[in-house]
Subunit: 277 residues, 2 copies
Amino acid sequence: MSGEEELHNSPIGVFDSGVGGLTVAREIMRQLPNERIVYFGDTARVPYGNKSKETVTKFSRQIVRFLQTQQVKAIVVACNTASAYALDELEKEVDIPIVGVVKPGARAAISATQNGKIGVVATEATISSGIYNRYIQENNPGAQVLGKACPLFVPLVEEGLWEDPVTEEIARRYLTELIDVGIDTLILGCTHYPMIRSTVGKIMGDQVTLVNPAYETARELKGLLREKGLESEHRPGLGTELYRFFVSDAADKFQKFANSILTYGILSAKVINIEEY
Amino acid sequence: MSGEEELHNSPIGVFDSGVGGLTVAREIMRQLPNERIVYFGDTARVPYGNKSKETVTKFSRQIVRFLQTQQVKAIVVACNTASAYALDELEKEVDIPIVGVVKPGARAAISATQNGKIGVVATEATISSGIYNRYIQENNPGAQVLGKACPLFVPLVEEGLWEDPVTEEIARRYLTELIDVGIDTLILGCTHYPMIRSTVGKIMGDQVTLVNPAYETARELKGLLREKGLESEHRPGLGTELYRFFVSDAADKFQKFANSILTYGILSAKVINIEEY
């Protein structure tokens, strides 16, 4: 097997602070069915959304180093907080393609908006980075971007309260100011949020388009692999492990959650010591 | 200055996964006003309550090593999850007195109960360790102990929703089965929970005694220091830093939260790289 062919067949590395990035992995599985995936969820240090840029960058760097030991041909930062805080640094340090979720999400929102008023719901870290605002303004200087940190959404999602009066009440408190401003497009700027899409949609109303960056991220990855000649040309044969999952803690809980998100059954998730990377 | 005198004047090390342990530190400040304290909050890896025994033990061990570099004369594990999962291991590894919050909490509940029915609210980790049950049964085999994991309490406390209809609704869901069993004593088995004591008390009613292990923990520490001849004999002089605070991330947020718990103004919290210990 030639080196180039090996590269074609190498997996895509996908990482997140925990389980949220599985919503992005799911979309990659749908749009790029021939690609193998190595997923890493940092369950020992989750969540990232209320931590500092320095810490999130350090953690992300360790994960990228781990993924490189798995011979990945490209990396998807399937976490908005890590994309917001660490992507620029990571791009400088690795020589394989690396894709975040923020730029694709911003682009999708720019296409979707009619009135130029775009809302972003995300973690405290992503909102305080101002990154969605920056990308959107760069590409559409007339747009008005309103960000809102929703720190309780992640724990509510993780507790499974996806459609629950409590989640609805909390969502109403977070979203009221976005409704008052008259946004017509709302970016779900955290990979956990697609799970409460219907609750958010109910409050925002039919006239507001909800943007899940996962779809656009998988599309960007697809284009990038094609451009670099890195696409896998056929579905890996029987006996090849298509998807592999690694976590830094508590593999059981991860598997349980993952099985509620992915249709593909997760056979096993392996625990590794991420601090060693 | 003799070595023994130095030891007298050495600080107490207190640690937690984050800010919750400050409720224990506050109680030590009250009951042992002559003692210096070095506090460590693991804000880069918080929370511990949904992580595994292996991970919590590894994190706790690193923190104990850090505290020992600060020449502490005793250590208080001001976190129920770390006390439940790691205390036995830590005791084997250090030769200074080390106190957790679980045993003191269990003892206080045994004294308080009239009908022998004791409830425990805590993190998933503490509840699944079964440790409160074990300690209480050892000392009072007739007691009936009912544990309930309350995973949303920590995020609700951290968001400041201490007295809020949402916290009340969530508390009602968690506590109903404890009320139905007819407990007369409820252990607040997580150092965050004293902040929502009034909400919990409102739901449980006046006839149920709420036990905050912090008080009993400070008492146990006091007795232990006396027994070992380690008490500080007078209040440190002017110019001595009485309390020092270290965190693994985001010192600003920690300071803000700490100032809402402690009457003593936190002048500064220093960030250290805990993974190096």
